[in-house]
């Protein structure tokens, strides 16, 4: 970065604290200034990530020339300020304030989970007088149930307002509030209802005492008994930094870690409470081989590996009979090893990790680390086809850093209402599957109304050819929105100081996904946002290591870092087709569960059943694993060292927090041993060895130039007919019962029962009422679900969430479609 583009430096202020001179940026408060020179000014209500409150009065200090004591949290430094933090007056104030706080505090430390990491406990030990003069009975405030995640213990509450501020300032949903006033002030929810899951767990991290605590963690361990290891969350693509707290080899809780480049300490409730799938009794702990009677039998690793090796030797001569299926949930090391194994050891190009997509050119659209922080700087953000809060929850909080300051406007383009709609400047409710029509309409509006981007020339003509001679009104109609809406959104985006775009993985993985990427790129270029520093155009990928699988070349058309391969192998759908045609002999599935995750579940199941020999390596005996001939127990991230790559392409380190369960083994290790068995060693036998090999593969690789303007054909909406008059589309929820989430203790209970959303006009026409069981029928099958009648979904369309293994929308899927046609039946089957 050149010197000119650097942000102007903040002027510095010099002050004296307890005789020490301190220099800090203007605007710093006295607590932070003191912290810089190692002076600990005590506080209980202040939190460096929230606006100061000033209620606990523990941080009062003497400031020269000011007659009263001042709250250090609320006092901003000034040049020449002289601060004293240890005078008798200050000390007696601290002791006095603590005596007050303890007056009604139950002092039930022996039974309080917070004991040992309680800020109040620490401050009392440091600053309090030894004896209490309290004789009056303590005030008791009745508690009530806040739901499955959080326990409220109001008597311990010291009214610091941190939890209220987290919900107000960070999450933007003030559902937790002060009630009453004076000495009976309490923190409560409306009508004492449950604390709505979503981001509620963040209140636990900021609570200085044991007033709001994790219900699943309650009474599980003392803080000092826990072994604490920094790691990364495995439950979505954001890669939130967290600490894994383990006791007796069980992961008992996670605590957000403040990495400002990623999550800054905040977590979503999926991450905060979903970690304990690693403790599940259903974890696989031993290799298993399916015997002739169809039953699995536990075997030793030697036996399992020998069996697999013998089968692999059979296909070594015709490697195209081998295929490998990786996963967006596998670590970089496992993905890399799978790729190396498939291409180098077996010599097959049949490798993929995706559930149906056939996109190419990943490196061209790969985001750069730093995109998350850049996103915060945008004043306009377009969300195209992504329910951000559900798919990458903490990204929602990243946007809110600016949204809550009213420094950002968000346009939500989604057929279905999303949680962010409440904060959105505009909602473009387009027809499901019509993202490209929408983007083309926006592009046309920018060309018509906006300042034309420079140097467009012939490529601009190419873009316009993609409009197919349609007017803006016609393009808007194809997208299912109005011309006015398009013009307003285009004007906002083109007029932004810095505009960024987030687009959904579902749309990008669709059959026309390559065009979607081009259309996003066109819009950013035409609106003049592309070249700006800090501009982000990022795919909202949905799994822990989606980018890792792509980077490592778990793809049929390219190797690690986009390396060219001799010949393109089979993509997942093609593998299944080949299997059904009897052309696959061995299928090695590492970490994915296509039987419920592939768009057409029926096809996946039939294909896997058609393969002679199937190996599945996973944490659980998934639907896919049940079809395997050999099942190998894998290791979750909490139990391994390694790396994962998050939504912005940042590679983050995993540190083993606990020992692998039973005989389970990391995927790369299994493959290394198999390779050894086959006489073609992979060249690594440690994680560091894998990482070294990975580095080699990436050395000298150039980041491809970003694309220019391209012609993108405007698609027609999917067809419906009299038999199947409704469009069926799908998407993720924040809590569901997908392969991993269902194995945690609390998440399945947070997921709503599987449902189908129907627009009120359709519901009225069909006579469907809220809560009624209805059948959703496509040419492929029928799914019985609970009806939700809501305007959240467009008329003529129904929504069914993905992520339910017991009611998989994949059972309805027709191959070769992205949006299905269906009908609703009220009659029982």
């Amino acid at each position: 970065m050149s010197a000119e583009t650097k942000a102007p430096s903040v002027p510095m202020v010099t002050l004296t604290i307890d005789g020490q001179e301190v220099q800090v940026p203007k605007g710093t408060n006295v607590i932070e200034a003191a912290r810089k020179v190692g002076i600990d000014i005590p506080y209980l209500c202040y939190h460096h990530q929230l606006t100061p409150f000033g209620g606990c009065r523990l941080c009062l200090v003497e400031i020269e020339k000011v007659p009263k004591l001042l709250a250090a949290c609320n006092t901003v430094v000034a040049d020449g300020m002289v601060v004293r933090t240890t005078t008798d007056r200050v000390k007696s104030q601290r002791a006095g304030s603590l005596e007050f706080i303890l007056l009604n505090h139950p002092l039930d430390c022996p039974v309080c989970d917070k004991g040992g990491e309680c800020e109040l406990q620490d401050r009392v030990f440091e600053h309090s007088n030894a004896l209490s003069r309290a004789t009056e009975p303590k005030i008791h405030i009745q508690d009530y149930d806040l739901g499955p995640l959080i326990v409220r213990n109001q008597d311990r509450c010291i009214i610091c307002k941190r939890c209220v501020k987290v919900m107000e300032e960070v999450v933007g949903e003030p559902v937790l509030e002060f009630g009453q006033r004076g000495v009976t002030t309490e923190v409560y929810t409306f009508e004492h209802e449950e604390f709505k899951p979503g981001f509620s767990g963040n209140t636990i991290r900021v609570c200085p005492v044991g007033a709001l605590m994790s219900k699943p963690f309650r009474f599980k361990a003392r803080p000092w008994e826990l072994i604490k290891t920094p790691s990364v969350c495995s439950l979505c693509s954001v890669g939130c930094n967290l600490r894994e707290d383990v006791r007796e080899n069980r992961l008992l809780r996670v605590v957000g870690l403040e990495n400002p480049q990623v999550n800054d300490g905040w977590l979503c409730d999926r991450g905060q409470f979903g970690y304990d799938y690693v403790n599940s009794d259903r974890r696989l702990t031993s290799p298993m081989v399916k015997r002739a009677n169809g039953e699995f039998e536990e075997v030793a690793w030697d036996e399992a590996l020998r069996l697999i090796a013998s089968k692999l030797k059979e296909v070594q001569s015709s490697p195209s009979q081998f295929a490998a299926l990786g996963s967006e949930r596998s670590t970089n090391e496992d993905s890399f090893a799978l790729q190396q194994f498939t291409r180098q050891v077996i010599g097959s190009g049949n490798i993929d990790h995706r559930m149906g997509s056939t996109r190419v050119n990943y490196p061209q659209y790969r985001p750069k680390p730093g995109a998350i922080q850049s996103l915060e700087k945008a004043d306009v953000v377009l969300l195209i086809g992504t329910d951000l809060t559900a798919e990458a929850p903490v990204m929602d909080l990243v946007l809110k850093r600016s949204l809550m300051k009213k420094a950002m406007k968000v346009v939500v383009a989604n057929p279905r209402a999303t949680a962010l709609n409440k904060f959105a400047h505009q909602w473009l409710q387009y027809t499901p599957g019509q993202e490209i029509a929408l983007l083309n309409a926006l592009a046309k509006a920018v060309i018509e109304d906006g300042p034309a981007a420079e140097g467009a020339g012939p490529s601009l003509e190419a873009v316009q050819q993609g409009f197919g001679g349609r007017s803006l009104a016609e393009l808007a109609e194809l997208a299912g929105v109005t011309e006015q809406e398009i013009r307003a959104a285009a004007k906002l985006f083109a007029g932004a100081k810095l505009g960024s775009i987030l687009y959904g993985q579902t749309a990008a993985d669709a059959r026309d996904g390559a065009y979607l990427l081009a259309a996003v790129n066109n819009l950013a270029l035409l609106a003049g946002q592309s070249g700006k520093e800090g501009h982000v155009a990022m795919e909202v990928v949905q799994e822990m290591n989606t980018w890792g699988a792509r980077d490592m070349g778990v793809l049929p058309e390219s190797g690690p870092a986009g390396a060219k391969v001799a010949a393109r192998g089979l993509a997942t759908g093609e593998m299944f087709q080949a299997a059904l045609e009897g052309k696959l002999k061995v299928l090695y599935i590492s970490g994915s569960n296509p039987v419920v995750e592939f768009p057409s579940t029926a096809k996946a199941r039939q294909a896997i059943e058609a393969v002679d020999f199937v190996v599945v390596e996973d944490l659980f005996l998934t639907e896919t694993a049940q079809l395997a001939d050999v099942v190998l127990p894998s290791v979750p991230v909490a139990e391994r060292n390694g790396t994962v790559t998050n939504i912005e392409g940042r590679v983050q380190r995993l540190v083993r927090a606990m020992a692998p369960r039973g005989a389970s083994k990391e995927g790369w290790m299994i493959l290394a041993q198999l390779a050894e068995e086959l006489g073609k060693p992979l060249g690594f036998d440690t994680v560091d060895g894998v990482i070294q090999e990975m580095r080699r593969a990436f050395e000298g690789k150039q980041v491809p130039a970003s694309a220019g303007l391209q012609r993108v054909e405007t698609p027609q909406p999917s067809r419906t007919d009299a038999n199947f008059p409704l469009r069926l589309y799908t998407g993720r929820l924040m809590f569901d019962r997908s392969t991993i989430q269902r194995e945690s203790t609390v998440l399945p209970g947070l997921a709503p029962e599987p449902f189908v959303e129907i627009h009120p006009t359709d519901a009225e026409r069909l006579g469907v009422t809220e809560g009624e069981r209805v059948g959703v029928i496509t040419p492929s099958g029928r799914l019985d679900l609970t009806a939700r009648v809501t305007g959240d979904t467009p008329a003529g369309c129904v929504f069914i969430p993905s992520g339910y293994t017991e009611a998989s929308v994949g059972d309805l899927w027709v191959e070769g479609t992205d949006v299905l046609s269906c009908r609703i039946s009220r009659a029982a089957e």
């Binding site: 559902v175 509030e177 002060f178 009630g179 009453q180 009508e191």
Partner: protein, 180 residues
Amino acid sequence: MLSEQAKDAIREQMARYPCSRSALGAALYIAQEECGGWVPHEAVKDVAEVMGLEPADVQSMMSFYVMYNKEPIGKYLIEICHNVSCALLGAQKLIHVVEDKCGIHPGETSEDGMFTLKGVECLAACGGAPCLQVNGHFHFNVTPEQMSKMIDQLRAEGGPDRSLYNAAYVPEKTCRIQNG
């Protein structure tokens, strides 16, 4: 729960202020008048919806102020000041009179739903101590005998309604100027 009329009145209040949230106080008065002198949860929800707020937020604000009643109250709200000047000049005796005649203690509502008694802090009428309000209407220098008679009278002939107690004014609405 709230009528469209009440919701419109809330919207009218929202339009008065540079920031619409300022109308929350008035909105709760409107709800209280509409709901028989108190603000049930359902009304809180309605107010929150009309004003685009979280119900918890509205409830929290409401719980701070004593003039929003969180429980049903009687037809006549008798608020007797028991601060220093009134206490010195016999407020306690007045409270006893109401306790005896209506069978209620401060904070309670009589079984027939006629009276709610509250001991309140200084009503800014110490010159007329002991003083009290009935549905917001002042009575000064009240003697126990007068108190007793007042109860009888309220029972027999009735008294002022709560409309002024819960009033939300828009006197300036005819002459709004721009650029507040």
